[in-house]
Symmetry: C2
Subunit: 374 residues, 2 copies
């Protein structure tokens, strides 16, 4: 059988608990197949790595990630390594993204099941049918441009950051968005988001997106929205942005978080951050490196209680199988099992839901049910 | 009587229609008082100014604005002066803000009346009681930092913008936020929004906000949120951010638009952009210049039909009286009249509402009703 090496980064807070269930799901998938074998190995990353090595991303962890076929992460951070700490976990995550070249962040926001409609903060008729995939550029823009801190020369009383993009950076993320749009049948519409009425980098963005899609993907339809207007739609009429939302790093950070509350619980949603594909127009989408993680944080307030929702991490494992390992069938099987469990209304008199969805079922039990479905 | 000179900039699209009703309201207020006299004069601004003079902000309009006690604006822009036009209206607005030094943009988002709850895209229990005032820095940050367009040297394939803030810029907007918080009884809580886990300008922002509020306004309570997290709260649990939302230019652009859809119609909400106050800690808030406008755009699709909602502009006129002219009493009277009209369920069998709120009443009739109430 083909052997795939998967690095697991449980991280901090609820990270280890939710990752544990996703690992069980992956092991189940692995055992059931004679075609491939998943080799999982854990490494320290984030706050726990700071505690044991002094840095959030130890060299051995980075090396393992570079050599892996894919990376599954939990969540990092916590009050112990807060704003005033000398060494913080976030720079480790940014360094991991940058070093591995993970420029394409993919975050679907949809209701895994209509049975979750009542958890949405939006009116049911507005939330029902929301189905967006945010494709966020992840290693450019304000996050990685030149910056100057307050207190440094020449002007100690100012601080600045640079939002910078090159044609090549916008091209490659546009191609990822296009290929995700084309993977659906019929292809999804692409909504490119910028602030071209003010920013030079957004004018470049809009021009390159337009040229790339028009010349390389004439079969796709797309439009442009200003980021302020997109932020309104996502609340007032999110279905207007159904399809692929293509945007730069900071706008993507804001809009993907904003759209992620529509399904009612952050605990449900997965994400993928991909490198290396596609450098040329192709619809054969094969990343050279991929980091998969739930979108929720480390939730220190409920850590260690066994009540966190593992579904976001389990669905991240499904994305890992799909994108990094090319295993579409087991990916679909996981997604189907998750839907089935969410749609099961009762088990022993209790809703089959974790606390974030008003239920009383624990992290492990949800894992059990999904493993059983598989 | 004291004479106040008010420059009126009707602008494009529905601008002239909605401004017309606000002008009638101001004239009614003026006639009713022997203490003051409002002298209103109209000037060209935006697309209409481009058509007649070649530029969105003609020198004569700018001069009149500089000499006025306050400015009332409608809305500018339209397809005729769209993305591909050589001269566009937006730079005129940015130049007006910058030249007059209008650094403090104030945008309340609340439900003028519970009778509007059913128009909110949020569930009623989530929307009810939302009461936020966004205080957005308006002439700094990415909007006015150095930038480079694609196609210029040294690297023709990149474009960039600079998010830059100085200590003094953050201090003065923090003081405006503090004074707005103090004008309420009890004082409002302040929520400062930044991206301090990534951006140098946000770290300066967080430090200066903290120092200014702690030393100059120890009676106020405040907290900090990351912009991605704030974008989630505004959908999932907006009351958590009730009070004053204090933030920089671009984040304010996004978050104020996002929060403005909660009340159900953009047609209801006013805004103020203020200059010159306060340079020193004081709770006597007196801007040297002020531009007041509804938050909605020029809505070319319904322009000329007499169906636009004038309430956002009328409430902007109330803000004008309050902030620029120090006339709190007539400001309150307008706000009360608006609420009364919104709460009147029926007139001749029709809801007393414009089309954006599902009604059939025209712009003029709403103006009539509010004038009558006064
Ligand atoms: C932790 C933080 C630096 C990060 C970001 O802003 O990219 C997070 O919000 C995310 O979206 O993954
Ligand atoms: C028209 C545009 C430049 C402007 C801005 O981004 O500031 C508008 O969106 C606003 O908020 O007043």
């Amino acid at each position: 059988p083909k052997i795939f090496r998967i690095v697991v980064l449980p991280g901090d807070g609820i990270g280890p608990e939710v990752v544990n269930e996703a690992v069980r799901v992956l092991e189940t998938i692995s055992k059931a197949s004679t075609d491939f074998d998943l080799k999982l190995e854990s490494h320290e990353f984030g706050g726990c790595a700071i505690d044991s090595t002094g840095e959030p991303l130890p060299a051995s962890t980075l090396k393992a990630c570079q050599e892996a076929d894919a990376i599954l992460m939990g969540s990092i951070g916590g009050p112990k390594w807060g704003v005033n700490a000398k060494v913080r976990p976030e720079p480790g995550l940014l360094a991991l993204r940058k070093t591995l070249g993970l420029y394409a962040n993919i975050r679907p926001a949809n209701l895994a099941s209509d049975s979750l409609l009542s958890y949405s903060p939006l009116r049911p008729e507005i939330a029902q049918g929301v189905d967006m995939i945010v494709v966020r550029e992840l290693i450019g823009g304000l996050y990685f441009g030149a910056r100057k801190e307050q207190g440094t020369d020449p002007d100690v009383d100012t601080a600045w950051d640079t939002m910078i993009y090159s044609v090549a950076e916008v091209q490659r993320i546009t191609r990822v968005a296009a290929q995700i749009a084309l993977a659906a049948n019929p292809p999804l519409e692409i909504h490119s988001i910028d602030k071209a009425n003010v920013l030079a980098s957004s004018r470049l963005w809009r021009k390159v997106v337009t040229e790339t899609l028009t010349t390389e993907y004439p079969q796709l339809t797309f439009d442009h929205h200003l980021v302020d207007s997109a932020a309104m739609f996502i609340v007032a009429n999110p279905k207007k942005l159904n399809g692929v939302i293509l945007t730069e790093n900071l706008f993507g950070d804001i809009l993907s978080d904003q759209s992620s509350v529509i399904p009612g619980s952050l605990g449900l949603l997965p994400s993928a951050s991909l490198a290396g594909a596609p450098s040329a127009p192709t619809i054969d989408f094969k990343p050279t490196s991929g980091l998969y993680e739930p979108i929720h944080g480390s939730a220190p307030d409920i850590a260690g209680q066994g009540i966190a929702n593992p579904i976001g991490t389990i669905l991240s494992a499904a994305m890992l199988l799909r994108y990094s390992l090319g295993l579409e069938k087991p990916a679909k099987a996981i997604e189907k099992a998750v839907r089935k469990v969410l749609d099961t209304p009762e088990i022993g008199g209790l809703g089959l839901r974790t606390a974030d969805l008003g239920g009383k079922v624990g992290t492990k039990e949800i894992g059990d049910c999904i493993v059983e479905e598989l």
